[in-house]
Symmetry: C2
Subunit: 390 residues, 2 copies
């Protein structure tokens, strides 16, 4: 019994920020540390942020509670956006504004997963998703896929997934463009995942946080746009990545109307609604996204290439998102994993540990190639070359 001073059991099965354990050493390093451990961009939003006296005057109710689905003008603008950019045929009532993709994912898990049920998590995967399933009482079935698709693009995905499906499986967590591997699934690969979901009547929780952030000839396809998949998919987007505004904590869900209604019930119990003023701030940037988005993605592309060209170690070239994810096993030289991570911190680069992204990646690290300005990134590359020589 969690009577005082005990806590609920679920607090024992999940961790807080995966970076928490490195906090003391990171603080010790101070400003010299180039921080590449977190997924963020050094750039402030490149579009105009309309927060001034005029904005306050013109946005009635900016300080007040709003419709728990989100403010209508933003849902209307996003409806146009997902129809046009993602081929998702959503009207404004098929959109639910959330406090970032994190909140959208947790809301989805709470709305879909009963205790004792299984969720397939394609890995490597963003660490908190597994914790969400655990908190809901569900079981995570890790299925390593994204890295393998770099090597085997023609893999029979449908057949491969089959062996992981149990009688208790209710949902599959998909994340393309993928964090941390940078893999962007093509239409054939996505169609097989859709076929698998339809065969077993699984919900797809589609994390599209890196929507629009693809390079070379890769394009992001929303799985919900495939034939018959719209109502079976919960498509999740954010303002934290291509909109460069993680500090706003705003995201949104696209789904069928009854799904939105059920997920909204879960969300209101977590935070009532996302911020009214934050939503009002994003209406114009959504509408004029074509004016600023490509330049930002081009800049990310350049930073990726700067890393790929200058790093001695040769990671798989990411097709999307803004991470490099690679094994450092060859650099252990008799040391343990955590000693190598510690060396990175001591030499002035923070990285995210791979084991948090799935049990199959105990010797990987993730770095974010947009986390600091280009001058600092160059310093980081030099330091990484010292730590990981060829």
């Amino acid at each position: 019994m969690p009577k005082f001073p005990e806590f609920a059991e679920r607090t024992k099965y999940v961790q807080g920020s995966v970076f928490e354990k490195f906090r003391p050493k990171m603080q010790q390093m101070g400003a010299n540390l180039v921080k590449l451990h977190i997924g963020d961009t050094y750039l402030a939003p490149t579009y105009s942020i309309p927060i001034d006296e005029n904005f306050i005057q013109n946005n009635e109710g900016f300080n007040r509670y709003c419709d728990t689905l989100g403010i209508y003008p933003l849902r209307e603008a996003l409806s146009e956006k997902v129809n046009s950019d993602n081929q998702l045929k959503a009207n404004p009532d098929q959109l639910l504004m959330t406090c970032g993709a994190t909140n959208a994912l947790n809301t989805s898990v709470q709305g879909l997963v009963n205790p004792g049920e299984d969720v397939i998590v394609l890995t490597p995967a963003w660490p908190f998703f597994k914790g969400m399933v655990t908190i809901a009482g569900g079981n995570v079935i890790e299925v390593p896929l994204y890295i393998r698709l770099y090597r085997e693009p023609k893999l029979d995905v449908l057949d491969y997934l089959e062996s992981f499906c149990t009688s208790k499986t209710v949902a599959l967590y998909l994340n393309t463009p993928n964090n941390p591997s940078g893999k962007v699934l093509n239409s054939s690969q996505l169609q097989q995942i859709a076929d698998f979901a339809q065969k077993h009547r699984l919900w797809i929780i589609s994390d599209e946080a890196y929507d629009g952030m693809t390079y070379d000839n890769h394009n992001h396809i929303s799985v919900g746009s495939l034939p018959g998949m719209y109502s079976q998919t919960i498509s999740i987007f954010t303002f934290s990545k291509v909109f460069m505004f993680s500090g706003l904590r705003l995201g949104y869900i696209v789904a069928g109307e009854s799904t939105i209604k059920n997920l909204n019930k879960m969300m209101v119990h977590q935070l009532y609604s996302p911020s009214t003023i934050s939503q009002q701030m994003m209406v114009e940037p959504v509408k004029n996204r074509t004016q600023w988005r490509d330049a930002f993605v081009k800049h990310c592309h350049e930073l990726r290439d700067m890393f790929i060209t200058n790093l001695k170690i040769s990671p798989q070239i990411p097709e999307g998102s803004y991470y490099l994810f690679f094994s450092i096993e060859d650099h252990f030289k008799g040391r343990g994993y955590s000693e190598v991570i510690d060396e990175c911190l001591e030499k002035g680069v923070s990285v995210a540990p791979g084991n948090d992204f799935g049990k199959d990646f105990p010797d990987y690290i993730r770095i974010c190639f947009t986390g600091e300005n280009p001058e600092r990134l160059e310093i980081a590359i030099n330091r990484l070359n010292e730590i990981f020589p060829v």
Copy 2:
């Protein structure tokens, strides 16, 4: 099994916004409707909101992820505030910034309550709290208290609570100043609740959303400031009420350091952290709160008195918060409850139904006396007098 198109069981046991059911009729009434159903203030914040070009320049990282506990400058300012205003001896690491009090409450329930355990909810109570307990798999034990304390201020609270405690009870939900009854508990009443919690080793989840909003000679006392109660209490505050900024979705928890760490684990899985820029916006208003707060509370006091003086029906005079909560049973005249609520909407005043605040209040309604400007409130009073004549 919640395979597509089914949802998780927990979606069936909770409702979304309690006002959802009235939406069609409210829309039908349009701008003529005086909206007193939601707890909000018509006033924009009376302090300066520093969102301008200068603010963006001076707040590095405004667009980026922040420490998941919240930004340090705000936790530092709030630490000073709770020490000085609430006698809570918290340092900045004993504060967790949340997405409103809603998020703070849900985080607390997730962090404390195992499935099958009981939570005592003193009623009438804010409706979503019960849903949070249900979502966590806990059982709600409703204990009607606040209204009774108006009639029986000397009630033996300790003895009264005793009969509701089971071997599975782990926490008690306290909300003073109370929404919806306006009751502000005095030190003797609070001490008895503290004694009860200490006797049974119960956590106290102390919802202090209406901190600072008290009238006449009533003062808000934080139960966590009573001897020995700090570490056993989760004290919850918000920027939605006396700060007049519900649209910012910002709140905070004050608790012991190990409690903060465990609750933070739950919060990061719900939304990672509250908005960085929102937190930066509130540092100065916290620091200069004495310059603007009293005038706002005085204005609420005047609006309360305007209702009390001019309403024909005589509700209990609220000691704090900004609601009137009263029985309309005498006005049924052979009609059902929902017909009377419908009459309110048809005659142009929206109210919140009492049954959502607890099973003992099936014939009550709640109105918020700060929800619209004074001219509109006068119209509402006239309409209410027509609906509820003496």
